[in-house]
């Protein structure tokens, strides 16, 4: 091992979200990575910080009708519609039959009422296999209700407050970009007891087939992901990082280490990789190696040293020594 490689190996990429300790600051985005097992043959599970499972609701859901996907410039639209077997079946089968993996497992909870969020969270968080909970209050693809929560700061606060009482585990609240003031929603979530914020969910969008004169998605509207939304996501992280002290999981179109670095510099403590796994499931481990090299080359010892460095208004509680500006 050369001197520089030895230096890179010493770089600390571990981060904490509430009490959740991640060996790497990389999560696999909910809905993009199944249960993790679908990708296990192609990715190195030891190089993944955590997997956010597909969202589960109280009752089974068939999901939206096809087509559910449309390729768009630099991204894609999806409208899956939270297809899932419901919490009972999910715990009895999906989770019970899960293969143990070195990554941290974050359960994702979706719902249509404040009580449903609390009920499903309580059930899911009680499982020893679940290391943390992500509250999906921002799914844009389920009629009107799904996104209502994250689009109303007061409602976000109510959900988070009630859910907070059901578990001690780290609670990550996933915010919607489809709002006027994402910082206001972020503050409500923090005040209500969120441990971390996932920023952002997909951006609402639509595509139309000019031959059939019909929307291309079965659900008519969908959520846009991929590099097309990256600048929107970076700004959202930047704004939220000025407004709250809790850590942020930055996400939206991350495909390379450079993309990931933008999010850290804007104020994210960790990043989440979603659509990029559809290009190549080895992208997350390349990002981890890229971060290690980036920090090592600059003589930096930990990822925390760059968090928020491009953000003059950065309010994070974990401001690191040596931070400039």
């Amino acid at each position: 091992m050369s001197g520089s490689q030895a230096a890179y190996a010493a770089v600390d990429l571990s981060v904490k979200l509430g009490t959740l300790e991640l060996a790497y600051p990389t999560l696999m985005g909910s809905g993009c990575y199944g249960s993790g097992e679908e990708f296990a043959p192609f990715a190195d599970p030891a190089k993944i910080g955590g997997v956010v499972l597909k969202s589960v609701t109280q009752r089974p859901r068939l999901g939206n009708r096809a087509p559910r996907l449309v390729a768009t410039p630099s991204g894609m639209l999806n409208a899956i519609g939270l297809q899932n077997p419901g919490i009972d079946w999910y715990l009895e089968h999906d989770l019970a039959e899960r293969v143990p993996r070195p990554w941290k497992t974050i359960g994702s909870v979706a719902g249509f009422s404040v009580d449903e969020y609390a009920y499903v969270t309580q059930r899911l968080a009680a499982q020893p296999e679940i290391d943390a909970i992500e509250l999906n209050v921002s799914c844009p693809n389920v009629a009107a209700e799904g996104e209502t929560f994250a689009c109303d700061p007061k409602l976000t606060g109510r959900v988070v407050r009630l859910v907070r009482d059901t578990t001690e585990k780290t609670l990550i609240v996933k915010l919607s970009p489809n709002v006027t003031d994402i910082a206001a929603v972020a503050r409500e979530a923090e005040d209500a007891g969120a441990d971390a914020l996932a920023v952002i969910n997909t951006v609402r969008g639509m595509a139309i087939d000019v031959d059939t004169w019909r929307p291309r998605l079965g659900n008519v509207t969908g959520g846009l992901s991929g590099p097309a939304i990256r600048p929107i996501a970076v700004l959202a992280v930047y704004e939220v990082a000025c407004a709250v002290k809790i850590p942020i999981v930055g996400q939206g179109g991350i495909e390379t280490v450079t993309d990931a670095l933008e999010f850290f510099l804007a104020g994210a403590t960790a990043v989440s990789i979603g659509t990029a796994n559809f290009i190549d499931p080895r992208i997350p481990e390349r990002i981890v190696e890229g971060l290690r090299a980036y920090l090592g080359e600059r003589g930096l010892l930990s990822i925390g040293q760059i968090v928020g460095q491009a953000n003059r208004g950065f309010a994070g509680a974990h401001r690191c020594e040596g931070r400039e500006g």
């Binding site: 809905g31 993009c32 990575y33 199944g34 679908e38 990708f39 043959p41 192609f42 597909k54 009752r59 089974p60 859901r61 068939l62 999901g63 009708r65 096809a66 087509p67 559910r68 996907l69 449309v70 390729a71 630099s74 894609m76 999806n78 899956i80 297809q83 077997p85 419901g86 009972d88 079946w89 089968h93 495909e255 659509t275 796994n277 559809f278 290009i279 190549d280 499931p281 080895r282």
Partner: protein, 275 residues
């Protein structure tokens, strides 16, 4: 239908050959002995984009023999254009084999294979397997025009009887290939089909009327290709062996469930589809 229990992996391959059997249709062969060894008829692969942009492209596996795997595809957008630009010696990473594949376990003796356009790309491997098991194989092959009826000689050399239809009448019968299938005498005891969705629906209807079991290889937009995103679903009978395990009827007592075309499929029994 068979389930995919074969070792699936990312394979780093090298392009061996590239030809254009018709304008806009490319046959790309590459060195992939491990992939060739485990591929079953009807499976597909995901080609990781050489330029690193855009999602991977799902392609039916056309040939798989010894050290070589080949895909046959229609150039219809930026992703296939990028693949079409590859030349012998270029590197190409592919993930596969993926999906289930055709179920040929019932020892069918007389099989009709229905191909619509580039759907032919998923049908050479089952044809070879059937002929190797001494089954009679009739290929019903439709396309927009004569030039797009690619690889006919190849299928003839394998020992198929071939019946063609074209939209413009430039080769074979004018009209849809499903019209040829409806008149097949004697009736085949199994139908395999791959092509555009309207053709598959017509094939399913024709086979239902004739009482012939049919397996359809569906076309759908994929994102992940490995069952992780639930983006490529088709409703099927909840009691199908292929139905993803799911709790009992819900949401209005539905007897259907959304199956993933990439994971539970892409091949489904026509009579179990609820599309």
């Amino acid at each position: 239908m068979l389930t995919n229990q074969m070792p699936t992996a990312v394979h780093a391959t090298t392009v061996l050959d590239r030809t254009e059997p018709a304008p806009g249709i490319v046959l790309l062969g590459f060195y992939a002995p491990e992939l060739a060894a485990v591929t079953r008829p009807g499976q597909f692969l995901m080609a990781i984009p050489p330029g690193g942009e855009r999602t991977a492209t799902a392609l039916g596996i056309y040939e798989a023999q010894d050290h070589r795997v080949a895909v046959l595809f229609f150039v219809c957008g930026p992703r296939t254009r990028e693949l079409a630009g590859l030349r012998a010696g270029d590197g190409l990473e592919v993930t596969g084999p993926l999906g289930n594949g055709f179920d040929l376990s019932g020892s069918p003796r007389d099989v009709a294979v229905v191909a619509g356009g580039i759907g032919i790309a998923s049908l050479l491997l089952p044809v070879q397997a059937l002929i190797a098991s001494s089954a009679r194989v009739r290929l019903y092959y439709g396309a927009r025009s004569a030039a797009l009826l690619v690889e006919r000689d190849r299928f003839a050399a394998e020992g198929c009887e071939i019946y063609c239809a074209t939209d413009d009448g430039s080769y074979g019968r004018r009209g849809f290939v499903t019209g040829l299938l409806a008149g097949a005498e004697p009736r085949p005891d199994l139908v395999l089909a791959c092509g555009p969705t309207p053709m598959l629906r017509a094939t399913a209807a024709a086979c239902s009327a004739l009482g012939i079991p049919a397996q359809l290889s569906l076309e759908e937009t994929f994102a992940c290709g490995v069952g992780g995103c639930w983006g490529c679903v088709v409703p099927i009978d909840r009691n199908s062996a292929q139905a993803p395990r799911f709790p009992g009827p819900d949401e209005g007592g539905s007897d259907t469930v959304n199956a993933r075309v990439c994971k539970e499929g892409p091949v489904f029994w026509a009579h179990e589809l609820r599309w």
